[in-house]
Structure formats: structure tokens, C-alpha cells
Subunit: 371 residues, 2 copies
């Protein structure tokens, strides 16, 4: 039977919940408590945001509703969809509509898709998105949604369906009401053991903060990888064990049709903003030798600290088989390897898989001239 | 005009060469010398090894000759090919014949293909090879080659073509004759700067030794990756710079049809033989979530030192997108990361690329229970 938790009394060690069917209030005592309240799709405060044709893509139900609509309107050229927000979810939505024969319009505040991507790689993603039949409108804020349109800048875009994908917010209200400290992005602040400011109360997943492995700062990265690591660490500690979460890099990967995109750690701007004397190099290379029939181009950006040469992060945009190589950079950054060490690393080569110098090593070789 | 070097006089700093066209002997003085004499395919001492239908697959000319024969005999069921040696080259040869409609027989001393692979993964490769229509005869030595057959054990295999792929030997005779020290596998012994025992004489590529990054021992790994790293280091040092080659892991990757295979560092047996108190775990997982249409299985073996938990090596056999993840293990081993650190590493996840815990992290999670 469903219960809705309405209050956490930390001092008394009690959770109060309403039974959905009967409205009865019950109390559940706890010695230790895990908050896994998750996140929700942000619905920005725009006139018209609550209109019935404005949907988000957060839950499985959301996805199924969108799927049904997109399929039902397949082949209907008079039907228009606007996707607001060109992050990972927005890009996936645009791709899903394109593969069903629609020509969505994708609107974002930034000049290119995927915030966090450096502009040089962002424009490549933009080009690929536009080439696929999407109209990308960058650097533009949506000011209103009407029953038939989306208003942004001086344009009014016809819209039978509007998908909002501007990010995830943590469901931290219950914790806040219980006096538990919130942190980055208003997520529930946790320590390395995933314990909140309240002794014995843990939090994990999209409702909780993480620690950035390189900057050491508290961050809010609502990603499945982090949620799984959170839960493992919280679970071990609740069970009486000792586990800690050293930190995250914000590693993420996606694809738009054939184009693969990945990022980890700090960009040059982010490193400099964190007070690190950093440098960066971008190289253009191939996913595998040019004589292989399925070779394609790839761009790699690698970032390191000057002096120490410590690897801080990287980004990859390229053809099939390129994006998962971000893991080499993530591993190097986790181990505080230098660019020189990364260049010397014995990475796997065979023509169906890589050039003889792996693309990450090519980037390291070039960056080595700057660090 | 072609010249054949016939002698290196290290003390005098002179290379003596015969001009091929005229037979004239010329002398070339040197201050510094690079030996890049490469390797050659081993032709084992078997009766019949010099018969004209016995070929190797080492040079581009070799490959083109084999290609022509395989194509010319396409569809001829009475034509038989035997491949001796089931290492990387032997497997690639078997695959090339299979994709041209032939049913090659593959013979090896070992019970399964790819020496160095642990038996549990080797049998998977064997199964894939056999499933594709190859007869694999393991644990068997070839004792003779006749004009019509290959004799191994108590069998006589009909053979119109025999391909020998039992490994690569270094071309080190000139160096040895000059009094330069040879090392592992009779390759030219070099130090971290790629300098031989003779001051000012360097060696690089398939003729030269490497140092194993983990055991510190001299090894002979004739691989393209090592050759390229050798050449970079030797070139910088010859040019007056300072470069060193910290060591190699023997990282290698290949595929047999759809099956990807990769290895890096030490197996459990190799670690124990090197005197390291090591442990190993093998896990079975998926290349990406099971709901993705192109998800397939993968096996990962991870090896670490007990106590310290230091990552020593790993092996992967699996479907598309699995093998290149060996680079994560290679990077971790290079950085002397522990299994716990590897488990905590923020590896990239999205359903088209990986399960939420990357297969390498899944292996680390299981191995963590043993270290």
C-alpha cells in the first residue's frame, strides 16, 4: 500500500507518513534513515508552462506519452514540436523526433548544444544536429508558451507539442523541512560517507550532492553513475561497514545519431575558474586507421595543470568507437597521472579499434608541448 | 639505390654496406646510429617448411599473395588450407579464409587460441572460431609438411596451402655480429633511452627489447604500439633531447568476426611467476543494458596484488564495444591504482555505450572482495 512521507522528525527518529488509500497518519521509528527522494524535471517559470501540450521527459510514463504522440503524428508535416533545452535529454528528444520523421526545433540559452562542452566541440554537435533536419536556435530565451506556439526572441515558433528539458532539480523539500542542510543546487548536502547533516540520516541519488574529485567542491551532478555509487556507499555505511565516496568527475557520454560525445573532469575554463593554472589542447584525428572502411574523424580536447602536468579532464566528439575512450582520461584524472605518463601508457591498438597512437595519446603528445 | 648493410664497426663508428646493383662496398661513418632492422616471421624447423605452398603472413607482399590465392580458390570445396599457430596473426588468417568461404584448419600447441589468454577466456575464443566453420586442433605439434598435407599428432590434414603464424623473431644478427648485447627473445637489448650496449647506438621496433612496466623485466613484445613508442624515444635522444620509455604492458586487442578480445599486463599465472602475491576474478556481464538491441555478453578478468590491491592486468572477451575498455585497466595499472580506486572511478555511462557500472568496475567490485 502506498504511503507518502509528510515529515521527518530527526530528533525523535520518526518518519511520519500518510497512507494514500485511507489518509491515516502513521509513524515509523528509525535508527538510520536513507533519503532517496530523487529528482524532478525542472519546469521553468514561463507563461504557459502548465498548458497540457507542454511535457517533460523524466519518468518512464513521460517517455511513453512522448513516444505515443511522436508515433501517432509520424508523416504529419503540419505537426510541430519544439524542444526547450539542448542538454543530454533535449538532444535525445530531438534525435527521437528526427528518427520518427519530424523536424523539431531545439532552443537553448547557449549558442550550441550541451552546456559544459567547449565551444569548438559544441559547434560540431550543432552542425550534426542541424544536418539531421533540426532547427537549432541558440543564445535565445523562451519568454512564453501559448496553446499554438513558443515565443523566443522575436520569433513565434508554431508548436503542437513542447518538450521541456532544462535540467533536473533535487527533491529535497522534506529534508529541508526537517532541518537537514542543503548544498549545491539545493540538493541534500552529504559527506564522503553519504551522511547528511543529521546523524544517522543518509542521502543518495539525484537528491544528494557529490564532491568533485579535482576541485574538492560540492557539486550537484544528477547522473545514474553517481546515484549508483552513492547508494553503494550509503548502503555499506548503514549496514555497519566503512565506505567513502572519494569524488566524481561529471563523466558523461551520449550520442546524436552517429556522432558520439563525451566529457570528463574540468574544461580549461572550469579549471581556471577553480584557480588552477591549466592549459588545454585540441586535436583532430581518426577513430581508426584511414584504410579501414569505417574509420571516421574525432576531436579530442585534453586539459592539464601546468607544471605538474596533472590530467584534469577532457572531451571527445567523434564517430563510432570514440566516446568511450573518455574513460582513459577519467582514469588518468582519478590517478592524478601526468600528461607524460598518459602518453607513455600502453593503450590497445589494432586497425579495427584504433590508430597505433590512440586518440587520447595523440592529444597527450600535443598537450605535452604546453604543460 | 638499395644498399645492404653487411657490418657495423662500433669501435670505428662505421657502417659497411654493399650496393645491391653494383656489389660495391661503401662505408658510412656515424656518430649515432639507429638500428631499426625489424622482425621476421618465424619458420619453425619442420620437415617440408621450405615447400613452395608454405607461406607466412608478415609483409604486405605476403598478405597480397595470400589474398590472391584465397580469392582464386573461393567456392572450391576440394581446396584445403591449414594455418599453423593460433596467435593474433593465425586468428586473423583463419578469419580471412572463413570470410572467403573456406573452412581452414587451425593448429596450435596450446589447447585454445591466443597464448597469454587465460584458459577460461581462451575456450570462448575457441568456441567462436569453431562455430564459424574452422576446425581447431589444439594441444598438437606439427611434425611434418608434405606437398599435400600437414602431419600433426596421428592425423594427416590435406593441405593445398599452409600458412605459418607461430610468431615473430627479431632481426638482430647484424647487431650481434657487431658485439652488441642481445636480450629477451634474442632481441637487441636496450635501456630506457633505447640505447644498446654500444654507446651512441640505439635500437627501436621489432628488433629491440622492452621493459615490462610491472615486473621490470626485459621482454620482447614485437607490437606496433611498442615500435612507435620506441622510435619516438630513440629519436628524441638521438636528437639531443631526453626521453625515456618507462615500460610496456603487452596490451593487445584483436577480434574474430564479432568477438572482441583484449589483454593487458599480467595474468594471475604471470603475476605469481613474477613472485607477486596476486589474485584474480572473472565476471560475466553485458556490453550495454540488456534492453538495448545490440547488447551482448562480455567476460572480464581482473588481476591485482593482494594487500596493496594494485591493479596488475586484465583480459576482456566480448561483443562489440567491449575490447577497447582494456585501456581503462591499462591506465589503472600504469598509475598503480588500487582495485578500490578503479571501482570508484567515474567511468562513462549511457545505454548505447555501457551498463551503469562499466564492465571494468563490475570486475573491480568483485575482485575487491579478494584483495
Amino acid at each position: 500500500m502506498g504511503h507518502e512521507v509528510v515529515e521527518i522528525d530527526v530528533a525523535a527518529g520518526i518518519v511520519k507518513a500518510l497512507e494514500n488509500a485511507t489518509g491515516t497518519l502513521s509513524e515509523e521509528p528509525f535508527d538510520q534513515l536513507l533519503l532517496g527522494t530523487g529528482g524532478r524535471a525542472i519546469r521553468p517559470n514561463i507563461p504557459g508552462i502548465d498548458l497540457p501540450h507542454v511535457l517533460v521527459a523524466h519518468t518512464l510514463d513521460d517517455a511513453q506519452a512522448l513516444h505515443s504522440i511522436a508515433d501517432a503524428r509520424m508523416g504529419d508535416d503540419s505537426w510541430n514540436v519544439v524542444v526547450i533545452g539542448a542538454g543530454y535529454i533535449g538532444l535525445e528528444m530531438a534525435e527521437a523526433f528526427v528518427t520518427r520523421g519530424h523536424r523539431p526545433v531545439l532552443v537553448d540559452l547557449q549558442d550550441y548544444p550541451l552546456p559544459g562542452l567547449v565551444p569548438e566541440l559544441g559547434v560540431l554537435v550543432k552542425g550534426c544536429v542541424e544536418h539531421s533536419g533540426v532547427e537549432f536556435i541558440g543564445g535565445t530565451e523562451v519568454t512564453a508558451i501559448t496553446p499554438e506556439s513558443v515565443v523566443c526572441g522575436d520569433r513565434e515558433l508554431p508548436a503542437d507539442l513542447v518538450v521541456i528539458s532544462v535540467g533536473t532539480a533535487p527533491c529535497s523539500e522534506l529534508a529541508a523541512a526537517a532541518g537537514i542542510e542543503l548544498g549545491a543546487g539545493r540538493a541534500i548536502a552529504v559527506d564522503e560517507r553519504m551522511q547528511t547533516s543529521a546523524e544517522g540520516v543518509f542521502a543518495a541519488g539525484d537528491c544528494a550532492t557529490s564532491r568533485h574529485l579535482i576541485t574538492g567542491k560540492q557539486v550537484f551532478f544528477p547522473l545514474g553513475t553517481n546515484a549508483n555509487k552513492h547508494a553503494r556507499v550509503a548502503g555499506i555505511n548503514i549496514g555497519g561497514g566503512q565506505a567513502r565516496m572519494p569524488g566524481v568527475l561529471g563523466t558523461a557520454v551520449t550520442r546524436y545519431l552517429e556522432l558520439e560525445i563525451a566529457t570528463t573532469g574540468l574544461s580549461l575554463d572550469q579549471a581556471q575558474a577553480a584557480g588552477i593554472d591549466a592549459c588545454s589542447e585540441q586535436i583532430s584525428t581518426l577513430t581508426k586507421p584511414g584504410y579501414m572502411p569505417d574509420s571516421s574523424t574525432a576531436q579530442v580536447v585534453l586539459v592539464a595543470e601546468r607544471g605538474s602536468g596533472r590530467v584534469l579532464g577532457g572531451q571527445i566528439v567523434g564517430g563510432s568507437g570514440s566516446a568511450k575512450r573518455i574513460d582513459t582520461i577519467a582514469t588518468a584524472a582519478t590517478a592524478s597521472m601526468s600528461v607524460a605518463q598518459l602518453l607513455d601508457t600502453d593503450l590497445a591498438y589494432a586497425p579495427p579499434f584504433s590508430t597505433v597512437w590512440d586518440m587520447v595519446a595523440v592529444a597527450a603528445r600535443e598537450l605535452l608541448k604546453k604543460v
